[in-house]
Symmetry: C2
Subunit: 114 residues, 2 copies
Amino acid sequence: MATIESGTPVMTLVNIFTVAPEQQAKLADLLIRATNDTMRHRPGFVSASIHRSTDGTKVINYAQWRSAKDFQAMRDDPDARDHMQAAARLASFEPIICEVVESISAPGKSDARA
Amino acid sequence: MATIESGTPVMTLVNIFTVAPEQQAKLADLLIRATNDTMRHRPGFVSASIHRSTDGTKVINYAQWRSAKDFQAMRDDPDARDHMQAAARLASFEPIICEVVESISAPGKSDARA
């Protein structure tokens, strides 16, 4: 599970992979395995949520790290690099580093900020 | 606040807006206002989290709806359409409808699924 909240000291990476539909499941599995085996044990890892698009052509990784420095250290790690190279053989990807401006819930929910 | 979890009956819409950096703040404000004024009061709205990229060129809306039917009903609503047309005048966008395959937290966190 992951939580999205503004004002928290978290760096967000939204990575959008474009993939052939017949490779979508394989790519999602690869990202889940890479996260479980490597990324989640690195300092500063907060969460990674792997999504598949209903049209079959995208996989989205919504990932959170404590800081850009921790994220960069992970990227320089040879194990993580092996995983990312395997992903790159299956798909093109567009990583977007961002921060939460605001997170809004439905009215009446216990965690709403109305 | 929003939570990401696999196995929940939620439809996820990741909408990636590409924008001129000088319009990024205006677009983020517009999406926050549209969400507060219109979307969050529609049946089936769960959450919307607005992000800005650190390079200034993207705004990402990570939104959750109870179902594709509720999401479509909102899109057909004239108020919501006005807001989306205002956003389209500021930016191009690529909406991706998807579902969570797996959400993984850091080891030792109370919500980890290790």
